[in-house]
């Protein structure tokens, strides 16, 4: 009897450990976390939108601005072509993520490593684009101190970037485990949970891309 109890208690015993609902604990927790994150980003996005068009000085996101005292001209600061590319990169990382998950489910060790690595790489590429964007904005005269747009833009996209960074670290950890000892199909739930987080970060970007970059 005791052995049976121990076996069923082992978290690695099966892909679907027995719980009240038959669902995985961590997966419920991550969905609750995602629900909570909705409020986090809703607050950040609300602030961005509330302060939209209220900055007293430029540079502005969508229109040029001439400094009345120095007559220096600042062009509209958002770089839509570059950001469209980085948006595409992040969307593709989501594709790589689902492929990584399904490879782990199938027990396909080779593909799982490739796709986990690609997801992390695409995420890192997105971060690279963001780093480029931030530095070029600073060169063009927009910092978190400049105006309301600068504060709310950098903090909103910065927090999103921080989430991507955490996701990349998470992915690299999974990749490391996969390389070291291989992720078994039983552990697919761990990849699934990471994937849910990753896709959520992606959908947040879908909202930010439209609300911040495209709507003038």
């Amino acid at each position: 009897m005791a052995t049976a109890a121990i076996e069923s208690h082992d978290p690695h015993a099966g892909a679907h450990p027995a719980t009240s609902t038959g669902l995985n604990n961590t997966k419920i927790a991550i969905w609750a976390f995602i629900g909570s994150e909705c409020f986090f980003f809703a607050s950040l996005i609300s602030t961005y939108l509330i302060y939209k068009g209220r900055s007293l000085v430029g540079p502005f996101p969508h229109e040029a601005w001439t400094d009345p005292s120095t007559h220096q001209v600042f062009k509209a600061i958002l770089n839509i072509p570059i950001t469209s590319v980085s948006t595409f990169v992040l969307l593709m990382s989501s594709l790589a993520m689902v492929l990584a998950h399904s490879a782990v489910v199938r027990g396909d060790r080779k593909s799982s490593k490739i796709w986990l690595a690609s997801t992390a790489l695409l995420g890192a590429t997105f971060l690279g684009f963001q780093a480029y964007e931030f530095t070029s904005f600073v060169h063009e005269g927009l910092t978190i101190h400049t105006n309301l747009f600068g504060s709310s833009f950098f903090i909103l996209t910065g927090f999103h970037g921080a989430h991507v960074t955490a996701g990349v670290i998470w992915l690299l950890t999974l990749l490391f485990i996969d390389i070291k000892r291989g992720l078994t199909p039983d552990e697919a739930i761990n990849v699934d949970v990471c994937a849910l987080y990753w896709h959520f970060v992606d959908v947040v970007w879908i909202a930010i891309f439209t609300l911040v970059y495209l709507i003038k």
Partner: protein
């Protein structure tokens, strides 16, 4: 051991649908199409951004919002497999999402970004 066995079989019946759903995840074919649609919608969004005749109209903002809502929904349904997963997850996500959206709209109204005309 008998009790143990009967119990797990009972639980299997009860959770059959949750477990079955996990195994009917969409495959490579679906993922490929989803990625293609997402890319096309993104391209469309950027394209209309560069159409001065369209950006000037009152349709511009609603169109963009609708397009991004579609992208949002597609990722959530297929990549986050909410379409195939247990209903509980749907509740955990959509409930907060709706309240959060109402709050954004409410705040924009309170800060006079949205106005009601009488």
């Amino acid at each position: 051991m008998a009790a143990d066995h009967s119990h797990s079989s009972v639980s299997h019946d009860a959770h059959g649908d949750a477990a079955a759903h996990e195994h009917t995840h969409p495959d490579w074919g679906t993922y490929k199409w989803v990625a293609l649609i997402l890319t096309l919608i993104t391209a469309l969004e950027v394209w209309i951004y560069y159409l001065p005749s369209f950006t000037a109209t009152r349709l511009f903002v609603p169109t963009l919002l609708a397009l991004s809502a579609i992208k949002f929904a597609i990722v959530v349904m297929f990549y986050m497999h909410l379409k195939y997963d247990a209903k509980l997850f749907r509740a955990l996500f959509i409930g907060p999402l709706l309240i959060a959206s109402f709050i954004i709209v409410g705040l924009l109204f309170l800060f006079n970004h949205i106005k009601i005309q009488f």
